[in-house]
């Protein structure tokens, strides 16, 4: 490992992508993720990679579709309204099984909303957003160090499963400066790219990248193949951080920035004699359902905290399937749930029964 340096979250995402071997980036400006583009524009020109500022998010994701078809490691980044525009291309890419990394540094909505951090893209990223039966692998970092490690990992996962992978961060993670320690060498997996459309060179029959299957049986078979793949991803790649959950009175469920606030609540609650646990999903899809099986019987129940009106909480309820109470606390519009508010709810929950 090298020495620890201070870097901005967005720049770390860009640096991590370069370290992972990404030499193609297509984007469109939108706050609060623009530093990714700035970093890429400078570095790609220095190292002979491709940085292209597209005419729209729609065009950018389709450029990613083209570059991914050619078998190169490729990334785009955007923020909520821009991700809405990319959904068409994301659905096509999922169907065509193209590896790519998409960064969503979430801002508050709906509509143009605001530019402050939020977690209100959970539905549109974790639950599809585009049309059709598909899943994206969704990674939710909670620190700048994790932005680095999960971005590198995202490229490996994308290649391993031939699937788009999303880094779902929020404006705080993108904008904050924090210490990060880079590895001397990245664990880059070399995926098999025999399927890529690179020109057959007279050595094979032509490769085709497509997302259209007019014959109903062929399309259903393709869908079943995708579902089989998703099953494998669920089995192999589900990740969560579990803190203080054994013997906890209340378990708080939170991801990303909010999970950091909850870690402080754990300390505050301890002083009051309440043991608070934290389940922090690192993969939002696949959702770490099995962790909830283990702790379903926590005496005072679960509290989900989000910077949204309550989106991930639906997956928490599905995971528990009525086995325990699930409370929710959320803030919107760019506001963050405070340590004090979360602690107050935890106290009420602990006192109630």
């Amino acid at each position: 490992m090298g020495k620890r340096i201070l870097m901005k979250g967005n720049e770390v995402i860009a640096e991590a992508a370069l370290r992972a071997g990404c030499r193609h980036f297509f984007g469109y400006p939108i706050t609060p993720q623009t530093e990714i583009s700035h970093y890429m524009a400078r570095k790609m020109e220095e190292i002979g990679g491709v940085f292209l500022q597209a005419e729209s998010e729609v065009a950018a994701i389709n450029m990613v579709y083209g570059a991914a078809s050619a078998g190169v490691r490729v990334m785009t980044s955007s923020s909520s309204p821009g991700i809405s525009l990319k959904q068409e291309g994301i659905s096509y890419s999922a169907c065509a099984e193209l590896p790519m990394v998409i960064v969503d540094i979430v801002r508050c909505g709906p509509g143009l909303g605001g530019i402050l951090p939020a977690q209100c893209d959970y539905f549109q990223v974790v639950k599809g957003g585009g049309h059709g039966d598909y899943n994206l692998i969704v990674l939710a970092p909670a620190s700048v160090q994790e932005l680095y490690e999960l971005t590198v990992e995202a490229f490996n996962l994308a290649d391993r499963y031939r699937n788009p992978v999303v880094i779902l961060g929020d404006g705080y993670l993108g904008q904050m400066m924090e210490a990060v320690e880079f590895r001397d060498e990245e664990p880059i997996e070399k995926g098999n790219k025999d399927w890529a459309t690179t020109g057959h060179g007279g050595k094979r029959i032509h490769n085709v990248t497509t997302s259209i299957y007019i014959d109903p049986n062929v399309l259903e078979a393709h869908n079943r193949k995708l579902q089989e793949k998703y099953k494998k991803v669920k089995e192999n790649e589900t990740r969560a951080e579990v803190v203080n959950c054994d013997g906890a009175d209340v378990i708080v469920v939170a991801y990303g920035t909010v999970a950091r606030v909850v870690k402080n609540v754990i300390k505050d609650a301890e002083k009051l004699g309440i043991k608070v646990g934290l389940i922090r999903p690192i993969t939002l899809w696949p959702f770490p359902t099995e962790v909830f099986d283990k702790y379903a019987g926590v005496p005072k129940g679960f509290l989900t905290v989000e910077m949204s009106s309550g989106q991930m909480v639906e997956d928490v309820r599905l995971a528990l399937n009525g086995r325990n109470r699930v409370e929710f606390h959320g803030r919107m519009g760019g506001n963050v749930p405070t340590q004090k508010d979360i602690l107050d709810i935890v106290r009420q929950m602990a006192d109630k029964q």
Partner: protein
């Protein structure tokens, strides 16, 4: 016995699904003949559009990528930037290129992407059953302009070649037609030149091909060719709009 005429190597054995009298088949053949003559099939990646030719990846024997509606120039941009030494072309209709994909074609051209676009203009949406296209002529009856296209209701037919010719990144733009033997030969020359422009890395090239749609025009194939000559070629004059003196 000497073979004097055969299917180009750049076409697969799959029979075309196009309607009788449709000129897509001719245009596919011209593109394939050019790929053969330039001996670039192994280095070429084509991009299929949405429309009647959505599945021409089954007909061209080079590597092919199917794109979302109108997005072929963006997909081709990604491909070409990843494969700068390969040949990348898009094959798009007028609904795909001149309506939903206007932004993508304009910006690919103005960036001077080193790709080639074959733009087939038949003044109608074929695959979705004959709706008005941006290129439909004034007075043209379609399923969504049942009383004829009226400027005050529907605006005017867009002249894509003239528009793109104003962009610096576009180096070669020509409009051709496949209504006669003479014009088919000219069309092939234009397509070949467009690919040569790309091979020499000069910038964006496009050939607009005036084409027929007997099914949705509601005419016989022979009458369709007359209608193309008498009406379409009037509004969309044939000729080189950019790169007249370009030597390749």
């Amino acid at each position: 016995m000497a073979i004097v005429f055969k299917k180009p190597n750049a076409l697969t054995d799959k029979p075309f699904h196009y309607c009788p009298g449709c000129t897509h088949g001719i245009i596919h053949r011209l593109v394939a003949e050019v790929i053969d003559e330039l001996d670039i099939e192994g280095e070429t990646v084509g991009v299929s559009p949405v429309g009647c030719t959505y599945n021409n990846y089954e007909y061209f024997s080079c590597d092919m990528v199917q794109a979302a509606h109108g997005r072929a120039p963006a997909v081709a941009t990604g491909l070409k930037r990843a494969l700068p030494d390969k040949v990348v072309f898009t094959y798009q209709g007028d609904g795909d290129l001149a309506a939903i994909g206007t932004a993508e074609i304009v910006h690919a051209a103005t960036r001077g992407e080193k790709i080639t676009t074959i733009f087939v203009n038949n003044a109608i949406y074929g695959m979705t059953s004959g709706q008005m296209a941006p290129t439909s002529l004034i007075g043209q009856v379609t399923t969504t302009s049942p009383f004829g296209r009226k400027p005050q209701l529907h605006g005017y037919p867009v002249k894509v070649s003239e528009m793109l010719a104003t962009l610096e990144g576009a180096v070669y733009i020509e409009r051709v037609s496949v209504d006669s033997i003479k014009n088919i030969i000219k069309a092939k020359k234009a397509i070949k030149k467009a690919f040569q422009v790309q091979l020499e890395g000069l910038g964006f090239s496009m050939v607009e091909v005036l084409s027929t749609c007997p099914t949705n025009w509601g005419m016989s194939p022979a009458k369709s060719l007359d209608w193309l000559r008498d009406n379409m070629a009037e509004h969309y004059p044939l000729g080189v709009y950019k790169g007249k003196d370009l030597e390749v």
